[in-house]
């Protein structure tokens, strides 16, 4: 009887030891995975892609009720906005008709001048519209997951627009889904230029709602309200795409307000300007 009790105690102690050992192993594995992801491990990237493909169909189903509720709420809100919006749109339409005529003249002039200079225009941009199915924006990362469907047009590094301004770039393509790294994320760095004064800088995300403009000249001519557009340096983003508006100039940092209301975004456009592939090709050629 005593022997059985001793055996039982030993067995429970052994189980406890195994459990503690397993916990220690799992802790070490977590740290090892973090180190591997710092080293951009291909295996880890592929595994993450597979998991993304497994979970995202579930999110698409789960979001249906939420989408319905939001749709009803949105429709009620829209009705109250329609009258004011209609008035505004009529005025805008009249302005655009004038602009259209001017644009037609400029286009013709541009074609003529291009022919005179023997200028080869860049390939036209193509885009894919994608529905946002998941989002995150806490203190640790800012990203979106969007459904693109069956397409081979979407590639890593492509520009993502919300409305007419940049919201980020494609970080991962996993089958029918893409992960978009928002420009408010800490990993995002976009070379920008102040539209008015042509001052250059880098727009850095810091996981807050207001990214910061960095690496500008000490006496840079920047004012609140200035529009920031992509400078085209580094080759990922083409030049001239609106990114944000300078909202506050502090002693140490310049805060930038996003143009697009990111929390209200439902769809994004993933645009292929054809320049990222060239940059990748050039980089790989240089490495060889």
């Amino acid at each position: 009887m005593k022997r059985r009790r001793v055996l039982f105690i030993r067995l429970s102690q052994f189980r406890l030891f195994i459990r503690k050992f397993l916990i220690a192993v799992l802790f070490v594995s977590a740290l090892a995975l973090m180190m591997l992801s710092k080293a951009d491990s291909l295996v880890l990237e592929k595994t993450s892609d597979v998991l993304l493909q497994v979970f995202n169909p579930v999110i698409r189903v789960v979001q249906l009720p939420a989408q319905f509720v939001y749709g009803v709420y949105g429709k009620i809100k829209d009705v109250s906005r329609v009258y004011a919006e209609n008035k505004k749109l009529k005025k805008e339409h009249a302005d655009r008709l004038l602009l259209k005529n001017r644009l037609r003249t400029l286009e013709a002039e541009n074609k003529l001048l291009a022919r005179l200079l023997n200028y080869t225009p860049p390939p036209e941009a193509t885009f894919v519209t994608a529905k946002i199915i998941a989002e995150e924006g806490d203190g640790f990362s800012h990203s979106l997951i969007a459904y693109v469907g069956k397409t081979d047009k979407v590639k890593e590094g492509q520009v993502v627009l919300g409305g007419e301004s940049v919201v980020g770039r494609v970080e991962t393509v996993a089958g029918k889904y893409v992960r978009v790294l928002l420009f408010t994320d800490i990993n995002s760095k976009i070379p920008v230029i102040v539209e008015r004064s042509r001052e250059r800088g880098i727009l850095s995300g810091d996981n807050t709602t207001v990214p910061k403009l960095q690496f500008t000249a000490l006496n840079a001519d920047i004012k609140p309200g200035d529009m920031l557009v992509t400078s085209g340096v580094a080759g990922i983003f083409p030049a001239g795409l609106p990114v944000g508006i300078v909202s506050r100039i502090g002693e140490d940092e310049t805060e930038v307000e996003t143009i697009t209301d990111i929390p209200r975004l439902e769809y994004v456009r993933i645009v292929d300007y054809g320049i990222y592939d060239d940059v990748v090709m050039m980089t790989s050629e240089n490495e060889e």
Binding site: G74, D138, G139
Partner: protein, 178 residues
Amino acid sequence: MEETFSEILETRLKRLLPFLVSVFLLLVFYVPVHLPLSRYLRPDIGMICVYFWALYRQDLFGPFSAFLLGVAADSLSAVPIGLNIFVFMFIFVAGSTSSSYVNMKPFAVSWAGFAVVSFLAFVVKWLLASVFYSKFLVFGSVFAGYLSTICFYPLIARLNIFIQNRYLANEEVVYEQG
């Protein structure tokens, strides 16, 4: 009496229920709700689930479940892979060791316990992420996430209590101090 296949399957599914419910809730909270500030005040549902099940049913939700939930959270998020796994393991260890003190006490005690444990977990997560990026993350937005996580604890805990009482009440409870 021998168990039929459907009985065996039911028992297995029941034992997996805490983990499956946690994964489901994790996915639900990634759904965009398009409300102002909603995405910046998103609670860390994984932390709540891991703490709850480690506290009350560590026989059904072991360290490996916490690890796998972390893998799921990391694959959905843009954070470095391993960060959520580490934090969930931390919460699991804290929850299971405090189980004997918190069990059978009023709900407010487990809530207060979660407030302390999750604060430490957020600090650990913030430090690890800062080391990873070689730059201190803005603590304000991390703290906002912490506050919303605490506020959501009663809701998620009530849901988990319902699942426990409705489906898992007859399952054997084994508490081990790890």
